[in-house]
């Protein structure tokens, strides 16, 4: 297994990076008084790990026997009935799923799943009624209607099932849902914490780390723990014992975006825009989300700009990203941003150099 998974902490005690949060969560479990929870934080910070550890703390090792099933829900909206298929991971105590996979019909999924779970309440060993846990991932991708219906069902069935929600940015979750949950912020680990983790893994794997190596990897990973561990493993596979200045190879799509940035900075014309468009299609086809492309492109472009230009460019980046969210064809807006940048840059060059 990859080290990312092998050395993932399985219990709340073993969590290295978010000790405080883990301790707090333990208190909740100990007091048997768990409210609905909302975990939010940047990607790669460890939210799912914490959730899994929490559930294990609650239910014991039984939660590890999971099975994946593709369940079909029969939805009856009153005007029509249709079938919806969704992949669910379930154990005897909890159910995990990703409701935004259902696309436009996500709110029916939310209602139906919770209703069904509420109907089957397990009895625990002491004969008292226990309740199940439902873990919903990527709730920030749910449509607004789905979040409203989530709030309604949360209220109705809160006695019979506990919800644990997980999302990247809590701004996209509506106020109503947020106020009914305890918000747990999972921050991205600092570079020191990453170094700590890397050294821990190194020890487990019996590896010798040269001085400054872990710090370099941590710096390269941009505070994303998953990336840091993967880079670490890549370095090890490529060359061990580690050389003094070894760095991990960059991610391919990021490399490609920086190539696009170079292209944009070298020539600004409709023809160049056309070739950039083809490259964008390549990235989009490979499932890279358009927001990431835009953000990375912005970072790459800003490395080479003057400060007054930076203000302008970042304003337009925010503008076009916002438009991109509201529309459905990302390529229009990505291209519009590049065209705007080219226009600004060209004017700047002409003004500066005559």
């Amino acid at each position: 297994m990859l080290w990312v998974d092998k050395h993932r902490p399985k219990t709340l005690d073993k969590v290295i990076v978010h000790e405080q949060v883990a301790q707090n969560l333990k208190k909740f479990v100990a007091e048997q008084d768990c409210p609905h929870l909302l975990f939010y934080g940047p990607p790669g910070s460890g939210k799912k790990t914490l959730i899994m550890a929490l559930i294990k703390q609650m239910f014991g090792a039984g939660v590890e026997k999971v099975k994946m099933e593709n369940k079909t829900w029969k939805i009856d909206t009153g005007t029509r009935t249709f079938d919806l298929e969704l992949a669910m991971l379930s154990s005897s105590h909890h159910v995990e799923m990703n409701p935004s996979d259902a696309g436009f019909q996500d709110r029916y999924v939310v209602q139906e799943v919770i209703k069904e779970m509420a109907k089957s309440r397990p009895i625990d060993a002491k004969g008292k009624r226990a309740f199940k846990v439902l873990v919903l991932n990527e709730v920030d991708k749910l449509s607004r209607e789905a979040q409203h219906s989530l709030r309604r069902t949360m209220e109705k069935y809160s006695a019979s099932c506990r919800l644990i929600l997980c999302c990247n940015s809590s701004s996209k979750v509506t106020e109503a849902v947020r106020s009914r949950c305890l918000n747990v912020r999972v921050n991205a680990p600092t570079e020191d914490q990453i170094v700590q983790v890397l050294e821990f893994i190194g020890k487990k794997e019996n590896l010798q780390l040269p001085f400054g190596f872990a710090a370099r990897i941590a710096a390269q990973s941009n505070r994303n723990l998953r990336r840091a561990i993967l880079f670490f493993e890549t370095c090890k596979v490529q060359q061990y014992p580690f050389s003094a200045n070894q760095v991990a190879p960059p991610l391919d799509w990021e490399q490609y975006v920086s190539e696009i940035a170079t292209e944009i900075l070298s020539e600004q014309s409709p023809k160049r825009l056309y070739s950039v468009r083809q490259k964008f299609y390549e990235l989009l086809v490979n499932c890279i989300p358009p927001e990431s492309i835009l953000k990375k492109l912005l970072t790459e472009l800003m490395k080479k700009l003057d400060s007054d230009l930076k203000h302008e460019v970042c304003h337009w980046a925010a503008h076009y990203e916002h438009k991109m969210r509201l529309g459905s064809k990302a390529i229009f807006h990505l291209e519009a941003f590049v065209a705007k940048f080219m226009s600004i840059y060209k004017e700047f060059l002409c003004a500066a150099f005559g």
């Binding site: 391919d252 468009r277 529309g327």
Partner: protein, 748 residues
């Protein structure tokens, strides 16, 4: 009361009852001479109809009569250079010979090869032509329906017309068609019937309409004739799937279909099977001649200039011209060029094809001298016509996609890229609008889409003809994206849930893919036998195999491998090689991008595949074994080495089994009882099987024995017995020399 009634009646009787026929009908062409469509078209249709002669009339194809030929010659337009003087129909038996150069150069839409080969092909005697349906398409008012009627009548058919006014669902149309196309005709004058389906592009598509019925019949026909068909037909006739059980009627009569929009979705399938003929606008002078003739007959005074302006305005739609003239005649007004807008000029309601829309958006009309002075007026007219054109077309999604795809290729002057920015901004607005409408169902907002296209047109349209391409890029992007997502999802399902729950598509593509590929391709592994490897290499190999199994990644055979930089050399295309299954290296492959990731050599990959398979087997069997495997010291390397040697020998055993047939017998017993087909036998305890050959080998396990203590025969036997026996059963028969051999000899 009575008086008023009487007055009313009186009043009525005073006004004369006027019976007047529409000029369109009065002067409708009844023979080929009067048709306005060009020579080539008429001939083609006629020719095609003639090909039915053998089937319908039972006679050989004969040439047309001379007077028709001469009439055709007489009416040939001077602009068309070729055609009239060549001898068209030869009287040779059965075959047509067509002079090469009598093909008119510019007839868009007709294949010259098509026509030629139709002639050169020898139609068999009792057969109808290959393409049983003729599809005439073109803008309104050019004379398609007229041509169909005239030609059919001329060839001796009775025309049955089904048009948009009739009920055209499959259930009502099928009996009508069957009635026409079947041979027996009840009517006494016994003219065979020819079916003309008018305005077929309005037919309900997708299996419910006229198109489906016809296709069904054509397919049935194809089945019946497939053995008799000539070799390479030119083409677009579908090879129908076998539906021999369903005996639909054969298509024994000609069917002519008429449509306006060739690319309507309802016609897609029909287009492939039918003979398509596209009508073009006749020249203005031809139309004007006819109009002059009619006007003279009716005594309506007008000038050539006015008539040509009218013809130009209506784009040679002769129907609307005639209607306008008749109307003006009634009002006793003269035809006035400058007042075209105010005059009611009827036009058939027709939506142009999307390519035309794009062309018009992206291409500026060449302004004539007279209009240039009057810029503002013509500009407004332009906007008006463009607006109605785009809104009639509807389907704004595709329209905008097409504009987006093509506008960058125009050569407009834009040094600071302001125009481009404006265009893209405006396209962004269109996208937002579409999404909003989709979400809130406020369809009335769609009215704002055409102005967006007009804005773009005003900014970037150029005079030269643009090279319009269908916006495949966006659609291709979408479909491929879905495919890739699907692949990744199925791969996720294959992995163990404990791992896959932490892996989502975004996190994989964004963070994991590249390092994962690097990790899966350690370059310092050599593809050598296990016992030649150093400890460290063995460790690495084990870890790699472990990872691959855990993430359910393996290699599979592909036909070719594009640009594999295996050790710097390019693997040639036709060597079967191995690539990742699932194709995760696709995720990092971009156009014009050289990834730093270097794949492993072919030999290494093969070793890995082998190892991964083994590991999978072991894992499966380990789950099923009871405590035969010692749980004691499970240090990775020695045990796996042991297991590997065990499996190694076991595999050899299985391969050796094909040499010794009799030794396969006991194995067969074992395998027959414990596996199915080519499955891999789990080395479960065969103690429950009484017929087991190996039962005699089972001895009591001494408690807590550790497998890698190796001392003497007994220990060795115990050791051997404790090793799980895994073998692969290769089905099949072999002719090799067989001699009895004991498995024990092979194991030790």
């Amino acid at each position: 009361m009575e008086s008023t009634e009487a007055q009313y009646v009186e009043g009525c009787s005073l006004t004369p009852i006027v019976t007047e026929q529409l000029w369109v009908e009065k002067y409708a062409p009844h023979s080929f001479t009067e048709l306005l469509s060009d020579e080539h078209t008429n001939r083609e249709v006629l020719l095609w109809l003639k090909q039915w002669d053998s089937c319908v009339f039972g006679s050989h194809i004969r040439g047309t009569s001379d007077d028709t030929l001469s009439a055709l010659r007489r009416h040939s337009c001077t602009i068309q250079k070729n055609s009239s003087s060549r001898s068209f129909f030869s009287k040779s038996r059965g075959a047509y010979v067509m002079g090469q150069d009598s093909m008119p150069q510019k007839t868009p839409g007709s294949n010259s090869e098509d026509l030629k080969s139709t002639f050169h092909k020898k139609p068999s005697v009792d057969n109808a032509p290959e393409q049983k349906v003729l599809l005439l398409c073109g803008p309104a008012g050019l004379g398609k329906t007229t041509l169909a009627h005239v030609a059919a009548k001329h060839c001796g058919y009775h025309v049955v017309e089904i048009n948009a006014s009739d009920d055209r669902s499959a259930s009502s149309i099928e009996p009508k068609i069957l009635d026409v196309v079947q041979m027996n005709s009840i009517m006494s004058d016994s003219k065979p019937k020819c079916l003309v389906i008018d305005e077929i592009d309005g037919a309900l598509g997708d299996g419910k309409g006229a198109v489906e019925v016809i296709l069904k019949m054509i397919n049935a026909d194809k089945n019946n004739d497939s053995d008799r068909s000539n070799g390479a037909e030119e083409t677009q006739v579908q090879k129908a799937s076998s539906r021999k059980s369903h005996r639909t009627a054969k298509l024994l009569r000609p069917v002519i279909c008429i449509c306006n929009d060739l690319y309507a979705p309802a016609l897609r399938k029909l287009r492939q099977v039918a003979k398509v003929h596209i009508f073009v606008q006749p020249t203005i002078s031809r139309v004007v001649n006819r109009l002059k003739y009619i006007c003279k007959k009716e005594g309506f005074k007008t000038s050539s200039i006015a008539l040509s302006a009218l013809a130009d305005y209506t784009e040679c739609d002769i129907r609307s011209c005639l209607n306008t003239l008749q109307f003006l005649n009634k009002k006793r007004e003269a035809l006035n060029i400058s007042g075209f807008d105010s005059q009611v000029i009827g036009r058939k309601d027709m939506s142009k094809s999307i390519l035309d829309v794009w062309k018009q958006v992206l291409q500026k009309k060449k302004l004539k001298r007279a209009e240039m002075a009057d810029c503002n007026v013509s500009g407004d007219k332009d906007i008006g016509s463009l607006f109605s054109l785009i809104s009639n077309r509807g389907d704004y999604d595709v329209t905008m996609d097409g504009i987006h795809e093509n506008f960058l290729k125009l050569s407009y002057h834009d040094p600071m890229l302001h125009k481009t920015v404006k265009c893209l901004d405006v396209l962004g607005v269109s996208d937002y609008l579409t999404q909003y409408v989709y979400r809130t169902q406020h369809m009335s907002l769609q009215a704002y889409q055409p102005p967006i296209a007009i804005t773009i047109s005003r900014i970037v349209a150029q005079v030269e003809k643009p090279n319009i391409e269908w916006p495949k890029a966006l659609q291709r992007c979408r479909t491929m994206l879905l495919e890739k997502k699907d692949t990744l999802k199925t791969w996720q399902n294959r992995m163990s849930p404990l791992i896959s729950r932490h892996l989502s598509v975004e996190s994989f593509v964004g963070d994991i893919a590249s390092p994962f590929l690097h990790i899966l391709s350690p370059l310092n592994l050599r593809p050598v036998a296990l016992n030649l490897m150093s400890e460290r290499e063995k460790n690495e190999l084990v870890q790699l195999v472990d990872t691959m199994v855990a993430y359910s990644v393996t290699y599979k055979k592909t036909k070719f491998e594009p640009q594999e930089r295996a050790n710097g050399s390019i693997v040639p295309m036709d060597i079967p090689s191995l690539s990742f299954d699932p194709p995760i290296n696709d995720i990092i492959s971009f156009k014009d991008y050289q990834s730093e990731h270097i794949g492993l050599s072919l030999a290494m990959k093969q070793v890995l595949v082998h190892e991964v398979e083994k590991q999978k087997i072991i894992k499966d069997s380990a789950g099923k074994l009871l405590n035969q495997i010692n749980e004691g010291v499970r240090s990775e390397v020695p045990t796996t080495t042991c297991q590997k040697t065990a499996t190694g020998t076991a595999c050899d055993t299985s391969q050796g089994s094909s040499k010794g047939k009799s030794s396969t017998l006991p194995m067969q017993l074992h395998s027959a009882s414990s596996l199915s087909g080519k499955g891999l036998a789990p080395a479960k305890r065969p103690s429950s099987r009484p017929t087991d050959f190996f039962q005699s080998f089972r001895k009591e396990r001494p408690g807590g024995a550790k497998t890698h203590i190796d001392a003497g025969q007994q220990g060795a036997t115990v050791q051997r017995d404790l090793r799980p026996l895994i073998f692969k059963y290769n089905e099949g028969y072999t002719n090799a020399v067989k001699r009895p051999i004991r498995v024990r000899d092979l194991l030790l």
